[in-house]
């Protein structure tokens, strides 16, 4: 697809979670690898907001970190605007491309250096990337960025502890915007905030997207937030992408049994009297994922094929779904 800004092809990432060498030798334990992300393929189109949802430990934050290059993928390929950025050998050559993406982290208390004034926090990307010629230009740019995110230019002289959680998240957004990125990876940017503050930040992100033409990858576990902000949604389970669909279709016609389960489990604020269907079971241990389809132990539609063979992602209507039951028309 030509309008894809970011392309993930069969991206995977393993972590070595083996016990220390001496324990392995003495206790005869094998090496253990945790497959955090497993064959994730995804296109992010220019100007859209794509969201990744899933429960804790499903690998959604790992995908975010692989994209911005905080981690290297173990397998697969990531392209940004047609340039491969996942190969460490060409890291220097791709720095021009990678600076066009920035990241916003979940915890605004941990992601700002408490010893730096806000001015330094926001100016750092400008200095590192050489985007401002002199101090006066940096000052002007910092003031402009702070106003853009709803803070005052005078706030530049304060320290992070003088701000509330919501204001700190605004500072993080100002820092991310300082390098003029096209693409923002937002890892649970509002989940540490209260709802009224969350609304302010979500509105700000929507406004900035319209004004600056940004593309967002939005990671969240909150389906209601995602339904509000996303154009397309990818659902992850145990490191795999099980369904990708336009937001409207995902909520009105969820296909994968796991997506249906997630939607059923959302608290019903409208109080329509609909009972939440509690799902039996919990997410299996990712160290020993189930055979075949990873969801089969909790799936009401699982059969022998689901237990044996891993389903491939196949286009079904407007969505891409990895489920044997959907492909066979059983559900």
């Amino acid at each position: 697809m030509s309008d894809a800004l970011l392309k993930l092809q069969e991206v995977g990432r393993d972590f070595d979670v083996s016990r220390p060498w001496l324990n392995r030798v003495l206790e005869g334990l094998p090496r253990q690898r945790l497959r955090a992300v497993d064959s994730v393929s995804l296109d992010v189109r220019r100007g859209e907001t794509i969201a990744l949802v899933g429960e804790s430990g499903c690998g959604k934050s790992t995908v975010a970190r692989l994209i911005v290059g905080l981690w290297q993928p173990s397998r697969g390929r990531i392209e940004f605007d047609g340039v491969e950025i996942s190969n460490p050998a060409t890291r220097a050559a791709t720095s021009q491309v990678r600076r066009r993406m920035q990241m916003i982290f979940q915890d605004p208390y941990a992601s700002l250096n408490p010893r730096w004034r806000v001015r330094e926090v926001v100016a750092e990307p400008l200095r590192v990337l050489g985007l401002a010629s002199d101090e006066a230009a940096i000052d002007r740019r910092v003031a402009e960025l702070l106003r853009q995110v709803g803070l005052a230019a005078e706030d530049a002289e304060k320290y992070p502890h003088e701000f509330s959680g919501g204001q700190r998240q605004r500072i993080s957004i100002a820092r991310a915007l300082s390098a003029n990125p096209e693409f923002l990876v937002c890892d649970e940017p509002t989940s540490a905030l209260d709802v009224s503050v969350q609304a302010q930040i979500l509105n700000l992100m929507t406004d900035l997207q319209e004004k600056l033409g940004l593309t967002y990858l939005f990671i969240s576990h909150n389906l209601a937030v995602v339904s509000h902000i996303a154009d397309r949604i990818g659902v992850m389970y145990l490191g795999r992408l099980v369904e990708v669909a336009p937001a409207e279709d995902l909520f009105s016609r969820p296909q994968h049994p796991y997506t249906r389960m997630l939607l059923d489990a959302v608290p019903d604020l409208e109080m329509s009297g609909k009972q939440r269907t509690p799902v039996a079971g919990e997410v299996p241990n990712p160290l020993s994922p189930p055979s075949g389809c990873a969801f089969h132990p909790r799936c009401p539609h699982a059969n022998d094929r689901c237990r044996m063979k891993r389903p491939a992602s196949v286009v079904s209507g407007t969505a891409t779904v990895a489920c044997h039951a959907v492909q066979e028309g059983r559900i």
């Binding site: 009224s196 509105n203 997207q209 209601a224 339904s227 997630l262 604020l269 509690p278 799902v279 919990e282």
Partner: protein, 326 residues
């Protein structure tokens, strides 16, 4: 509700933190009651004083926090001025508590069975065999599969959702009349959340237990609570039947709060619809404005709101602390 019917009655409760720079009032004269079998939701943003209210009821406030005024009555009996040894007989026996993080509420050095049996033996006159039978029954009741083998496991061998069930079993083991549940589902994934909520609801219904459910999650309240109290800056802004508070909020803060919650599917098709937002943030405890504490953020502020503090008045089915309904 008549006071006689209330299982828990809190009147004019005030919690203070004396500091070098003056006294901070974290809970400022709040009153509410919970009937047997009723689930009262207490909702509010961080710093609204909802957890402190729960902690004050079971007197687990961390010093220097202290109850500076008001009354707490459990089944008609005052418990806010009891000496510590009498209070200990109430905690665990007549009031059970469930906290947010199940890992810190369990002792990692004892099996879950030992912890439950010990608690039962402390509060009830039963033999160790009976206590173990009871513990097994409780684990079964909260939905732990194969309790016969799980009872001798340590807390770290349980997953988050299972651990929270153990904590609930522990809170239930002396059949308390009141359960204070402080963010019981916040640390859990949505699919597990639904299981825990149904469990709490069923317990309130079947055992006639009163539940004080403290959470910031309006969705959880909507599903679980019969009535809800909305707290803001240490005071109750609005209290009423859950359906009314959600669908017809009276207080401008509740209106703003409800509007700012993203609703599933509401933004669908209307790409990038804005959420209603409340400007600003909740005041810090040392800077609570005079009059109505919400007045600097209130879109319907009047002159009076900046001078006089509104009391809870009846507005339809709800009670709300707002001059608009005077």
């Amino acid at each position: 509700m008549t006071p006689a019917a209330a299982l828990l009655e809190v009147k004019d409760l005030r919690v203070e933190f004396p500091t070098r720079r003056g006294t901070l009032v974290a809970v400022d004269g709040i009153s509410f009651a919970i009937a047997p079998g009723e689930v009262l939701g207490v909702v509010g943003e961080s710093g609204a004083g909802k957890s402190l209210t729960g902690m004050a009821v079971i007197r687990l406030l961390e010093p220097p926090g202290r109850i500076a005024g008001g009354e707490v009555r459990l089944e008609g009996e005052r418990i806010d001025n009891l000496p510590p040894d009498q209070l200990r007989r109430i905690r665990g026996r007549r009031i059970g508590a469930i906290f947010q993080d199940p890992l810190t509420s369990l002792n990692p050095l004892y099996t879950v069975g030992e912890q439950i049996v010990q608690t039962i033996l402390t509060h009830l006159q039963v033999s160790p065999q009976e206590a173990r039978e009871r513990a097994l029954g409780l684990l079964r009741e909260v939905g732990i599969p194969a309790p016969e083998s799980r009872i001798d496991h340590y807390p770290h061998q349980f997953s988050g959702g299972m651990r929270q069930r153990v904590v609930i079993a522990l809170a239930l083991c002396a059949e308390p009349r009141l359960i204070i549940a402080d963010e019981p589902t916040t640390a859990l994934d949505v699919s597990i959340q639904a299981q825990i909520i149904q469990l709490l609801k069923r317990l309130a219904r079947e055992h006639g237990t009163a539940v004080m459910l403290i959470t910031h999650d309006m969705g959880v309240i909507a599903e679980t609570a019969d009535r809800v109290a909305v707290m803001y800056a240490g005071r109750i802004a609005e209290i009423g039947p859950v359906r009314e508070v959600i669908h017809a909020p009276r207080h401008p803060y509740t209106v703003g709060l409800m509007g700012s919650i993203p609703k599933l599917g509401a933004g669908m098709g209307k790409r990038h619809m804005r959420l209603a937002q409340i400007e600003g943030a909740m005041p810090r405890l040392n800077a609570i404005p005079p009059g109505c504490s919400f007045n600097p953020r209130c879109p319907r502020r009047m002159e009076r709101c900046m001078r006089e503090r509104p009391a809870l008045v009846t507005a339809g089915t709800n009670q709300t602390a707002c001059w608009l309904y005077e």
